[in-house]
Every structure is written in C-alpha cells, then in structure tokens.
C-alpha cells in the first residue's frame, strides 16, 4: 500500500493553490451573494473564469497536449478538481463539453472535428450543452426517440431533449439521436448540432430553487451536418457510454474537499449558536465528519487503483451513491442545526455569511437524480458487481 502523494504531485498542488490564490478574485459564493449579479452576469463570470483557467493550461487536464490539454495524470486531474472545489472557484460553464464531449472527440472523433471544436470549447467562446435525456428517456436513456433523418448530405433532427444544463446560454448541443428505430442501442448516433438555427428552440425550466439553469430543447427539422457526426452512424450509444468512464477518479477527492468546507461552516455556525457542546449536535456533526472521511478513503482507493492501471470496478457507482446521498444528509442537518437564519436565501437581509445552505439544501436534491439516479447506481451495483439475477 502507498497512499502518499508523490513529491511532484505535492508540488503541483502547491503551485495550483498559489495560482488560485492569485487569480481567483473572490470565491463563487461571494459572486452569488452580489445583488449586481443577475443570471447572465453570473454566466459571464463563469465564462471569463474558464478563459483564465484555459490560458494557464488547467483545462483538459488529462488530454493530450496536441489537443490543448495538459497531458496530466489522473492523480493531477483529481488534485486539480480538489483544489478548485476547495477554493470555491466558479464552476466552469463548459463543464459538460469538457468532461464528455472533449473525450468523445479525442477518442472517437475525426481530426477535423477536433480542430474545429476543441479550441473554442476550451476557451469558452463556444458553450456546449448535452442532449441526452428526453421526457420519456431519463434513467432508461436508450428509450430515446429524438430522430435524425437523412436529408441530402445532411440530417434533420426532430424531437425533444430535456434537463439541458446551460441550454439557454449554449451555442452548440451534442445530441444522441435515433438513426434506426428498430435497433435499440445500435440505432443511436452522436451528432453535434448548432443551437442558433431555425428548427431549434430552447426554453428554460424553472427549478425548485427558482432559477433556470437547465432547460428543454425542441428540435423541429433542425439541420445536423453529416461531417458533424462523432464516430460512425450507429456508434452513438457506445461512445456515450465509454466517455463516461474517462471521468473516472476526477471527482474522487473533490467532493470530500468541498464537504470539508461545508462542514467547517456548519461547525462554525453551531459554535456561534452556542450548541457545539450539545451531545446530540456533536453526534450529528461527528457522523458527518466520519462519513466524509470514509468518502475520502474511497476516493483515494479509487484514484490509487486508477493510477496503478487497475480495471474499473464498482467504484464509480459507490462514489456517486455515497456523495449524493451524503450531500442531502449534510444539508438537512445544517438546516436543522443552524436554525431559521439558514433558511434565508443568499440575498435576504440577515442571511448568514459563508455557506449558502438555503440553496444547497435544494440543489442537493438534484444530485441523487442526475447522472444516473441512486436507484440506477444500485441497479448497477447489484447486477454488475454482485451479479444478482435480472430484476423482475
């Protein structure tokens, strides 16, 4: 066993932490708190931050240098996400483009596609959103019905996508569309489609938090060019599923680092309220502290396995299930222990400085639903890992 980071990793961490200290004007929470920042301004702050990261070479961490990446190891990538989460840097707007589409292009795309799309994706000049889920294809993604029909050299896309993060700000969307109705998996193709055209309409969806970070995208004969297909026709499902695995380990240390900060805020809040000595409070805080540490142990193990070239195991589903369920317990406990003040939304008079628990308590409800709900993760664990028989 060896759970020690190598000196070069520690050096990378120090250098990054210093860089963040110099370049991060203020933590994201402060931007959210600033009444001058409406959703569009907040989006621009995120876009600008992405450009700064890109200039410094911190995006596409594990991509080849040839494609604008850093050629870094999985461990460095994990350290990068850990430190940016710890510093509460603005989340970058092209997160889905960089985590999903980028690897898809690098591993399955043509050189022309890489040249055309990667630089502007990294710089934030073009914002990407993801067109996978549909109203009737969520957890059962392969049930998707959005269709792409040949039209001369090109394709026409018709259908509806939903839960499209940053749909309202996006320039492009990567879409899984059906090119063969009779083949559930092999009839799906991976298209890159411009949003700003006739035949595409984006509507925001008001979320439980009141904001419209995600939306729905309607396609009515929208044009998708043949040369903008990633991989071959019919390879969309396989590509979509494999790109998910490239993200392995990227978040392994980031969530525990983020929750370190949340816990620190919660402990400080309990101290201010004079309840930190109460046994029931200590028990609750202690369990959250311990569970976060166990999450970090899982993350280190996952990362170590990845770094030493082991085949992926059940780690990804355990990780997702663990952090997303934990986040709900953490926020529920914070609202309980911090009293009515924690219910005040961030721009309300008297709202707490520091952590925005009122938002987090709502946002964490999404975590167990998106990117494979907790139920889907449990299906994966019971079928693929424990090899239990097909469910009835």
């Amino acid at each position: 066993m060896d759970l020690q980071f190598k000196p070069e990793h520690e050096a990378f961490r120090r250098e990054l932490a210093e860089w963040l200290q110099t370049h991060l004007a203020r933590p994201w929470i402060e931007e959210l708190r600033d009444p001058a920042n409406d959703p569009d301004r907040l989006f621009e702050i995120r876009r600008r931050w992405q450009a700064v990261l890109n200039e410094a070479g911190y995006l596409g961490m594990d991509w080849p240098r040839e494609w604008g990446g850093r050629g870094a190891t999985a461990i460095e990538k994990a350290i990068y996400t850990e430190e940016t989460y710890r510093a509460d840097a603005p989340p970058i707007p092209n997160v889905l483009g960089i985590s999903l589409l980028g690897p898809a292009l690098i591993h399955h795309g043509s050189e022309e596609l890489r040249r055309r799309f990667i630089p502007k994706m990294l710089s934030g000049e073009e914002i990407w959103c993801q067109g996978f889920s549909e109203p009737d294809a969520g957890s059962d993604l392969a049930a998707l019905r959005t269709r792409a029909e040949p039209d001369g050299e090109d394709f026409r896309i018709t259908g509806q996508k939903v839960w499209t993060t940053f749909g309202l700000w996006a320039d492009w969307i990567f879409v899984l569309a059906r090119t063969d109705a009779s083949d559930r998996y092999g009839g799906i193709t991976f298209f890159l489609v411009p949003i700003h055209q006739k035949g595409v309409e984006v509507r925001g969806i008001k979320q439980i938090s009141g904001e419209s970070e995600f939306g729905e995208v309607f396609f009515d004969g929208a044009v998708a060019r043949r040369e903008h297909i990633v991989g071959k026709i019919g390879e969309g499902w396989r590509i979509a599923m494999t790109v998910l695995s490239y993200e392995r380990g990227a978040m392994s240390l980031a969530y525990p680092a983020q929750y370190d900060g949340y816990l620190e805020d919660l402990v400080a809040g309990c101290r201010e309220r004079g309840i930190l000595g109460r046994p029931d409070v200590r028990e609750k805080l202690g369990r959250l502290l311990v569970d976060n540490e166990v999450m970090r142990a899982n993350g280190l193990r996952n990362l170590a396995g990845f770094a030493s070239g082991e085949k992926p195991g059940p780690e990804a589903s355990i990780e997702k299930l663990f952090w997303s369920e934990y986040a709900k317990r953490l926020a529920d406990t914070a609202l309980e222990l911090l009293g009515p003040q924690a219910h005040l939304v961030v721009r309300s008079p008297h709202s707490r400085p520091g952590m925005d628990w009122a938002y987090e308590a709502q946002w964490c409800r999404a975590g167990t639903i998106y990117a494979g709900s907790s139920e889907i993760q449990r299906n994966i664990l019971s079928r693929r890992v424990l090899k239990l028989p097909e469910a009835r």
Binding site: L3, G286, L289, E293, L381, L388, P389
Partner: protein, 359 residues
C-alpha cells in the same frame, strides 16, 4: 499511489486466509463457541507459532514487523471466519505489556507471543461502562484488591493485566483458577466474567505510564476491532449474495427482486467503504502518525454503523432461517455487537474523531 497490499503482506493475508479457513471453519468452530472455554487452546498455540500474536509489536520486541497493515490483514481474515476466542484481547494485552516494558512484562510478553500463555486485560468495573471513569481497584502491599467485570475469556487466562489506581498489575492465575462468575452476553461465542480480586500481583508500571500504555491500547483497539469487523461484513455480504441467488420464492430467485437487490447494493457500499476506511487507517498508523488517531477513530465509528447494517440485513435476507441457531448470520451479527460495545463504542469513536479534528 497504490491501495493494494504489497507482496509480503498480500502473502501474509493469503496464508492467514488459508489457515483460518482450514483450522477454524464455522462447522468446527461452532462447537468451540458453544464449548466451556470458548476457545481451542491448540489453535492458540498455533497462532503463536505462526507469529500472529506478535502482530502488534515491532520486530525488536519479538513482533512480526508487518506493522498495522499486516495486523489488519490477518484480523480481516479472522473476522471472515468469526474466529472464536481472545485473539484480539491477546493482541491488545501484548501491546500493553510492550508499552509498559520492564523485565517482568517482557518475560510475560515473550510467553504470550509464543502462544504459551494467555494474558488478557482486566479493566472494566461494574456493568455501566467498559472503561471506568475512575478505577476503584487498588494495588496495596503486593496485592490487588477490587472487582473486575467483563474480563474476557477469564476461565482460560493464565494471567491478567489488571488496571488499578496505582498502575497496571500482572496477576497470575491461582492454582485453582480465577474465581470467575460468568457474565454471558448476546454473543454466545464471547466469554466474559466478573472476578473479585484479592490476589498477589506485580506492579508493572506506575499510573502515568500505565495510562499512556492504555491510551495506546485504545487506539489500537479501534483499528484492530475495525479490521475484524471488515471480515464480518465482507463474509456476511457473501452469505447474503449466495442466498439471494439460491433461495427461490414465487418461482424465482429472491435476488431478482429489486427491493432486495437495492438492499444488497447498500450493503456492498458499506463493505467496500469499510475496506477503504480500515486499510487507510492502517496505512496511516504505519506511515502518517499525525493523522492516525483521527483515521483510526473514524474507521471505528464507521464500522459500528456499517456492521449493524450489513450483519443485520443479512439476518433479514435469510428470513426465518436467519433467525435460527443453525444458520450462520447470527454469529456474525453477534460478533459485530461485541466489537461495537467492548472495544470502544461508536459514540466514543465519534468523540475521539471530533476532538482529533479540533472540533
């Protein structure tokens, strides 16, 4: 970075598995658990020959030199077969003897490590807590006076390490044995006794030095009992999964029902997280002393909950037969209960973790 065991410790673990499965399969050990002493003396002599009783000691003290990681690897295997008897207790007593030091302690330690002598710590007084807030037992003019409770496997013990106000005292077994009143607990494989003491003994160290040694024993107990718990939950999940595949109801294997599949997935999450937490804490005990206390306590606190869930749900998955003596789930569940109460409670572990984190 590497989570897997290195070659030496992987070998140690593999040979431990082989030995425990061969020497103490449940079909055999069930008789031992239900027998008078709760241990097979012959197997304990073999533990000494194998070097397993020196796992908590440095090589210079006759130990194995495999460190905390090696210790956890062997205890992990002992947990898988719910190995009966005072294995854990002997390891803790060995550490206490090593920490207090001195000629008498070292002589006794050598006997213990070689498997020639069973030495256990006698610490509890009364039945309201395992560690008395104030020790009443005294060492006075060469004799120990007081009453100890929850003394593990006292009927078989050759000597006791008794905590007194004056410090740790070594008390030899009188010719007719200790005057031990059994205190049967939920875990029928466990042996506890209440022992009134008015016996000659040897003071091994003063109160301060003894206190330091016991604090070290407590840290070790958190880690070591967590490693046993890892074996318990790992094996319980295996039993559950096998039963889910084999048992049929409504014409199909019960493992095809999603309600049970999801429960099994939640058990798997706990088993794998227990593995991560235990070995990370073991690694820290060997390589990261600053964080070892925090990580050991965290592992212990996690394991208490995880074992309740995994071992408890195993009984539930087995249904009616899960509540029978004949089937194995109760053995694992009961051992988990013993580990959680008598080797540092979950509540205490949580408090230790909080304090170590400066909260």
């Amino acid at each position: 970075m590497r989570f897997e065991l290195d070659e030496d410790r992987a070998l140690l673990k593999a040979s431990a598995r082989e030995w425990f499965e061969k020497a103490s399969p449940l079909a055999e050990s069930r008789k031992v658990m239900e027998g008078p002493d709760g241990l097979d003396r012959g197997l304990y002599a073999q533990l000494g020959e194998l070097g397993y009783l020196g796992l908590t000691l440095p090589e210079s003290a006759g130990g194995s030199g495999f460190g905390a990681i090696g210790l956890c690897a062997v205890l992990h295997e002992a947990g898988r077969v719910a190995f009966p008897g005072p294995f854990l207790d002997l390891l803790l007593a060995a550490r206490a003897l090593h920490r207090v030091g001195g000629a008498e302690a070292e002589r006794r330690l050598a006997d213990l490590v070689a498997g020639r002598s069973l030495v256990v710590i006698a610490r509890s007084e009364g039945v309201l807590g395992c560690v008395p807030s104030e020790t009443a037992a005294r060492f006075d003019r060469g004799r120990v006076i007081g009453t100890k409770t929850f003394v593990p496997f006292a009927a078989a013990a050759d000597s006791l390490l008794v905590t007194t106000r004056e410090g740790l005292v070594l008390v030899e077994r009188p010719a007719k044995g200790f005057e031990a009143t059994p205190l049967p607990v939920i875990d029928h494989a466990q042996r506890f006794a209440q022992i009134p003491l008015d016996l000659p003994g040897t003071l091994l160290a003063d109160a301060e030095r003894s206190g330091d040694a016991l604090a070290d024993v407590d840290r070790l107990a958190a880690l070591a009992s967590s490693a046993v718990a890892l074996g318990l939950v790992e094996r319980s999940l295996e039993l559950s999964v096998a039963y889910l595949k084999e048992r049929k109801a409504f014409g199909v294997p019960i493992g095809s029902f999603q309600a049970l599949q999801h429960r099994a997935a939640d058990m798997l999450l706990r088993v794998e997280s227990t593995r991560s937490a235990v070995y990370r804490a073991a690694w820290a005990a060997d390589h990261d002393p600053e964080r070892a206390l925090f990580l050991g306590a965290s592992a212990k606190a996690w394991c208490g909950e995880a074992a309740r869930f995994v071992c408890g749900e195993t009984i539930q998955i087995f249904g009616g037969v899960g509540y029978t003596w004949e089937y194995d789930p109760h053995i694992y569940w009961k051992r988990a209960k013993t580990l959680e109460q008598f080797y540092g409670t979950t509540r205490d572990a949580i408090e230790t973790a909080l304090e170590a984190a400066g909260i």
